[in-house]
Amino acid sequence: MTSSRSWREALDAAAEGRATVEDGALLLREAPLFDLGRAADVVRRRLHPDGVVTYIVDRNINYTNVCSCQCTFCAFFREKGAPGAYVLSDAELSQKIEETLDAGGTQVLLQGGLHPDWGLADAVRLAKAVKRHPIRLHGFSPPEIWHFADRSGVSIAETISRLKESGLDSLPGGGAEILDDSVRGLISPRKISWQQWAEVMREAHRQGLPTSATMMFGSIEAPEHIASHLIRIRELQDETGGFTSFIPWTFQAGNTLLSRDPRFGESQPSGFGHAVGYLRVLAVSRLILQNVRTVQVSWVTMGAKVAQLGLFFGGNDYGSTMMEENVVASAGVSFRMSEEEIVATIRDAGFHPRRREEHRCST
């Protein structure tokens, strides 16, 4: 490589929490897998010396798949009125929540498409419908918040505060994809920009709502974009301290428009959208985001086996039982895990499973 800096120097910098974008990209490209894993493991141990790996029993509810955003990486969305388009009724929503409570669930992860007819009033109605039940509401990623505000002509601050009043407990970090507008222009041209995503998160944190942050990689981004995404989250976290967890996952190509884009095909050999690449990105995430307490492994995209290995590459949270998963499943990937399996998998790796209840959001 032309870089004058060696991966060892970059790894030292990362271990000390001062990696640059260039360092991050160099590590992704060149550092040996086990060197990355060990360094990430050191950070994980420092933040979680008790060897506890957490998980949550919750349900993923997608209130609609009607979406005006229509990202090319997404196989979930439908146009309004198209075959397969749905909006959950209040009765269906209630039933799903009751089932979650019956299964011992403590949280609902509520997300959906950007329905062209919906504004803040609809979001408030949804939040209140959920909060009629004794359950935690983790919902509405930044693109949804932006959409509701935009449709109703109110500010982001007002949108968040109205939802908070209606019972919203925390925000999921979805819609981050890659926080770089050149990549977003290719894979999600109609989605909010990276600064707008950050603006929503900043406001949520300011109002005391914790959030997670995510990253979807393995589409057509370069290692520099991944590294820059991580640094941007690190800087935002330095500012607000409101991110509870970081969750990287890989693009699932099945049934998507993006999978037929020649640029996607060309980027695959050097990309990170595979098991070894996932472990590398996970480890670099743990190294760079030392100010975010939790890094979550993604069994939903990687399967139980690679997710388990992820616990040795920086992960300290196994995510959720989900109960249902619609978005990744639309792309043809449907791993399933029960609470018993999650617990057994964590134990087998030598960690102590602990179910998380509140205060720390997932997904």
């Binding site: 086990f34 060990r38 493991d41 050999p269 098991a275 139980a304 086996k305």
Partner: protein, 353 residues
């Protein structure tokens, strides 16, 4: 190991028990790369399972059927030839043929099958019959092992797969496959096979009721035989799949899969190749295993019945471009091999898959 000494059984046990995953992976990786560099092999092959009718009822097996069961099948010679023809049209170099111990099919059926395949498809290497089937042929004919092997070799048998080994320890074997030949017999047959100039593989079925001690014992016996014959090409740990079997157990974990491969690589210092069978562990773990001592990910397979009967969650086929990409993404050099590990084609950096 780094001092050049052989890894003891005690050390192997400790390696199975540790959760210092990075250390085990790294040692296995060093042991592998010392012998094989960055090259990772795959083969373009086709599996054919001529019958699922089997006189044995192994408790871990979801494939075998008795003659009367509705899903029982035996392929006709034509059905076998169609599959071989497909293999040829896909530029395969190998047919991988294993099946149940059919109560009525005469030895002559198998001889004719091999002879016909050999004549029609001289370019395809025939890897066929586990030690269990060889024993079966000897019993139904009354011929000696040596004679059975000689006759098979004469009509085209090229090498033997490594199946039927399971776990050698009698106390485990009695629990999972009491009707199957003993571990001693399996090893005896392989010694005979190697003596006849045929290569074979060796497997180990893990993730059921075996103990770690019994795994180490299994590998020790393989290592001893290999010291004597040198006839084993690759070691292939096989992950137990629970569905439709009589053993109540979950699927193996990723750590269990990777440790089985890595400890195999470290302990079996006289085996050149360690194979991760992607059908068994899934393509993702197979890819990761290339950093845990593995230098072979089997092949295109095309049609797989045995593991799928037990709930394999991987597909049945991987294409050559998929295999090449998967190896490349792991940072290794893809090499298509034939059965005996001769290079068919190498894909250096930049070559199109």
């Amino acid at each position: 190991m780094t001092a050049g000494e052989r890894v003891s059984e005690e050390d192997a046990l400790a390696l199975f028990r540790t959760r210092d995953i990075h250390a085990v992976g790294e040692i296995a990786d060093i042991a592998n790369r010392r012998r094989n560099g960055d090259r990772v092999y795959f083969i373009v092959n086709r599996h054919i399972n001529p019958t699922n009718i089997c006189v044995n009822r192994c408790r871990f097996c979801a494939f075998s059927k008795s003659k009367e069961e509705p899903l029982a099948y035996t392929m006709t010679m034509d059905e076998i030839l169609v599959r071989a023809e497909e293999a040829r049209s896909q530029n395969a170099t190998e047919l991988h043929i294993v099946g149940g111990l059919h109560p009525d099919l005469p030895f002559d059926f198998y001889l004719r099958m091999l002879k016909t395949l050999r004549e029609r498809f001289p370019e395809l290497h025939i890897q066929a019959f586990t030690a269990v089937e060889i024993d079966h042929f000897s019993r139904i004919t009354g011929l000696s092992l040596g004679e059975v092997i000689r006759q098979l070799k004469e009509v085209g048998l090229g090498s033997l797969p490594g199946g039927g080994a399971e776990i050698f320890a009698p106390e485990i074997r009695n629990l999972i496959c009491s009707e199957k030949i003993s571990g001693d017999r399996w090893l005896e047959i392989m010694e005979e096979v190697h003596g006849a100039g045929l290569r074979s593989n060796a497997t180990m079925l893990y993730g059921h009721v075996e103990t770690l001690e019994s795994r180490v014992d299994h590998m020790r016996r393989l290592r001893e035989l290999q010291d004597r014959t040198g006839g084993f090409q690759s070691f292939i740990p096989l992950a137990f799949h629970p569905k439709n079997t009589e053993i109540a157990k979950g699927y193996t974990t990723g750590i269990e899969d990777l440790l089985s491969l890595a400890v195999g690589r470290i302990f079996l210092d006289n085996f050149r190749h360690v194979k991760s069978f992607w059908i068994m562990v899934g393509p993702k773990v197979a890819q990761v295993s290339l950093h845990f001592g593995v230098n072979d990910i089997d092949g295109t397979v095309v049609e797989e019945k045995i593991t799928h009967a037990a709930g394999a969650r991987a597909g049945q086929e991987m294409t050559v471009p998929e295999l090449v990409t998967m190896i490349r993404q792991a940072g290794r050099i893809p090499v298509e091999r034939d059965t005996l590990y001769n290079v068919v084609r190498e894909w250096p950096e930049g070559a199109m898959a």
